[in-house]
Symmetry: C2
Subunit: 159 residues, 2 copies
C-alpha cells in the first residue's frame, strides 16, 4: 500500500483527533501497510512533553492506538481480498489498549511504530505494536480492535 | 486537598502536555485527592473527536494516565504523612497503562474520573480509574505508577 490507510476513510468521518485527515487540530497519524506490517512515522511537537526532554505518554498511547487500528483495518481488507475504501466500508474501534512504557522516549527525533497482527477474525483483531526512537524500542503496546458498523452511522446507532 | 496535586509539582517540570500547568498547549488535567479517591473533571474540546459525536480514545487514555499518576503521587505523600510539595519531592511515571473502552463516550458533556489506589508501596502504586459521562461509566483503566527520582534531574539521569 503506497497511501496511508487513513486516506481511504470516508470524508465525513475522517475527523479523528488522532488520525483524521479532516481534523485541522489533530495529529494526522498515518499507517502504511505492506501486507505484513503497519508502519507509522511521527515527529512529536516540542510541546508534547512529559517532563523536560521526553515525550508525553498520552501521546505515545494515542500513536499506538490509532496506528494499531489502522493496521487492523488494512489487514481486514486484505483478508477479504479487497482494496481499502471499497464497499462495504470496514472499520474498527478499540476495545482494549494496553501500553508498556519500557523507557523514556526522547523528544526531538522522529518516532517509528511497527505493528503486526497477532490474531485476526472477521470481527476482531489483536495488534501488537512497538514504538522506536532512534531504533531503540521505548514503548510496546497491544490493541484489541473490534469491527463495527460503518462509522458514518455510528452516531445514530449509539455504538 | 483543596488544590489539585498538579499545583504542587515544581515549576520547571510542570510542563506535561497532559497535566502541566506551565504547558500552554496542554490539557491541564487536574486531580483532587480527598484521602481516599482522586477526582478529575474534564470537558473535551469539540475537536477531540473519534468519530462524529464521540470523544477520541487517545484523549481518554491521556486522562486516565495523568489523573492516575496524580492520584498515586497524592497517596504517596499521604502515606508519608507529608503535604504535597514538601521535600523530598515525590514523583512517579507510568510503567503500564491498560484501558478498557466499555462504550463510546459522548462529546459535549463534562467527564468525571474517579481513581482509587489498589496497591501502594513506597516505590509503586497501582491505580484503578473509571471515567463517567453523565454518570455512565464508559471507560475503565488501570495504571502501574513507579516512583522515580525528582523529575528535575531526570533529563540528566536518562531515567
Amino acid at each position: 500500500m503506497t497511501a496511508p490507510i487513513q486516506d481511504s476513510y470516508p470524508d465525513n468521518v475522517a475527523i479523528c483527533y488522532g488520525c483524521g485527515r479532516n481534523n485541522p487540530h489533530g495529529l494526522h497519524i498515518e499507517t502504511l501497510w505492506d501486507g505484513a506490517e503497519g508502519v507509522c512515522h511521527f515527529t512529536p511537537q516540542d510541546y508534547h512533553t512529559a517532563f523536560p526532554g521526553f515525550v508525553y505518554g498520552g501521546l505515545l498511547a494515542s500513536l499506538i492506538d490509532c496506528h494499531s487500528i489502522g493496521t487492523a483495518i488494512a489487514a481486514m481488507y486484505d483478508a477479504e481480498n479487497r482494496a481499502p475504501g471499497t464497499e462495504p466500508e470496514i472499520t474498527a474501534v478499540t476495545a482494549n489498549l494496553n501500553v508498556d512504557y519500557l523507557k523514556p522516549t526522547p523528544i526531538g527525533v522522529e518516532l517509528v511504530l511497527r505493528a503486526r497482527i497477532e490474531e485476526l477474525s472477521p470481527k476482531k483483531a489483536i495488534v501488537a505494536c512497538s514504538l522506536y526512537a532512534s531504533e531503540t524500542e521505548t514503548v510496546r503496546g497491544r490493541v484489541v480492535a473490534v469491527r463495527v458498523p460503518s462509522r458514518a452511522t455510528m452516531g445514530q446507532e449509539g455504538q
